[in-house]
Chain length 255, copies 2
DNA sequence: CCTATTATTTCGGTGTACCTAAATAAATTA
DNA sequence: TAATTTATTTAGGTACACCGAAATAATAGG
């Protein structure tokens, strides 16, 4: 419960801890966190102790790591920064969706709260980034569409692409070349068992019937990176991730 | 002569060393460098040793510090980054000229070379920042207008404001409120001796005659922060600061 | 239930960029 | 010139964010 001097490392740790539970509910372990951050396990142990001192995470030795309320606040502010930056880079500076993640990963730690606000205003307060990920608002509210990972869906199902993991630029370029992007309509034709390819029909955003759809085989990496909302699921629920107070606190007096 | 792993500290040191000689020719001393960076003298001694190892500066103990050719290259790339960012913030995100310096001071270390290029393209490759400072082009060429500091000019002289030091936001706001900005026409009416105020007439950019000009007293801090080109001086000389190679080298493979 | 494997933490150590205090060189002044 | 003042460097130490290797806890297999 120290006075919380933040740093880009702390920001990244907290953001990764948050991201892990964004689309499923198991909390992250030390080893998983290390893998995602590209650091040694021992580094995570030390940093988690520090995060706990600063009341950003809950943690008992040898058990998974959970964000506290103020950790969640910081995480959401970083996620907001990251996704707004990605959106800005695409809309205002002509970046493609496979270029933005890396750039945003650094910029998110360097821009001021003022910058974020001006950017959000200029963009009209968008609610989805270029990969379909929801952008938390300035108060920490975030709307999660009820999505399913493509590899968990059976043949015959249809859906609209709601998000695509942005961590592999090559995959993004591949999908783009084959006409798959946010809001693309997909139908699962069939699947080869035991982690083989997934056969899908893809039609551009908005096409309700699959006439002009393209047939495509997707490998495992694509299948676990694509999320869809199935027809007839509820429109999306606003998750009140935080109550009270805006997100700007940790960054108003940063450096 | 090490393989040059750069860092934001190194970038700031080199940039400050460069800036010191941008408008006069004495090289910077250890103490002056420490003062401008806001660090202890001892920190400068250590860092200068490292800069010398990396062939970014020339330095003999107890003597002033000079950039080498590759130090100058790095410095110009940082100055370009800083000034393009300031220009972008004003033109695209509605910042005022007193807000941009601090923001650019951090962003300059975080943006990629791609970001710089896209920004420069969008702005139409500007050659002056919001404070009138010249922006080096991508090859390290920079055009310095033949400017004089206002406090070095005698009564009766006229000139056009070519640059205003951007380090004091309060001063920038003050000058702005009183109608002084880049390209304002100034005439020195008189001065109180011994560091007193300087009395000037100020007319908006473009006004050739001083009829609608405003009378104003400027204190010492304002006088040393304002630079003017006097009527009838040559139009400005392109200084070939670097020959061969573009500036992008140190940043293409940063983190 | 004991053992082997795996997960996690602890320990000792590194590089960067700072700091204060002490030592030394250079420049002034008497 | 000698003494004093000022500038600069060196010495010793801190915080941060890492690392590999060793120790320890948890889990899984027999
Ligand atoms: Mn990051
Ligand atoms: Mn994204
Ligand atoms: Mn800087
Ligand atoms: Mn400027």
């Amino acid at each position: 419960m120290k006075p919380t001097p933040t740093s880009s490392s702390i920001e990244d740790y907290v953001k990764v801890i948050y991201s892990f539970t964004e689309w499923q509910d198991k909390p992250i372990t030390s080893t998983q966190l290390a893998a995602r951050l590209g650091v040694a396990n021992s580094s995570v142990s030390e940093m988690v102790r520090k995060l706990k001192d600063q009341d950003l995470v809950e943690h008992e030795p040898y058990s998974p790591i959970r964000l506290t309320r103020s950790g969640l606040r910081l995480a959401l502010s970083m996620v907001r920064r990251h996704r707004l930056l990605e959106t800005y880079l695409v809309r205002e500076l002509g970046y493609t969706w496979d270029e933005v993640h890396e750039e945003a990963e650094l910029l998110e730690h360097a821009v001021s709260e003022t910058f974020i606000q001006r950017m959000a205003d200029k963009l009209g307060n968008p609610t989805r980034d270029p990969h379909g990920d929801p952008i938390p608002d300035a108060d920490g509210h975030i709307t999660m569409p009820p999505s399913h990972r493509l590899d968990e869906l059976d043949a015959g199902h249809r859906g609209r692409v709601s998000r695509i993991s942005d961590h592999n630029p090559e995959l993004l370029r591949y999908l783009d070349e084959h006409g798959i992007g946010v809001d693309t309509e997909l139908e699962i034709v069939g699947r080869r068992p035991f982690g083989g390819t997934l056969e899908v029909l893809a039609a551009p955003a908005g096409s309700k019937d699959m006439d002009r759809a393209v047939r495509l085989d997707l490998g495992d990496e694509a299948a676990v990176s694509l999320w869809v909302v199935t027809d007839g699921s509820h429109p999306g629920c606003t998750v009140q991730e935080l109550t009270g107070g805006s997100l700007m606190s940790p960054h108003t007096a940063s450096p």
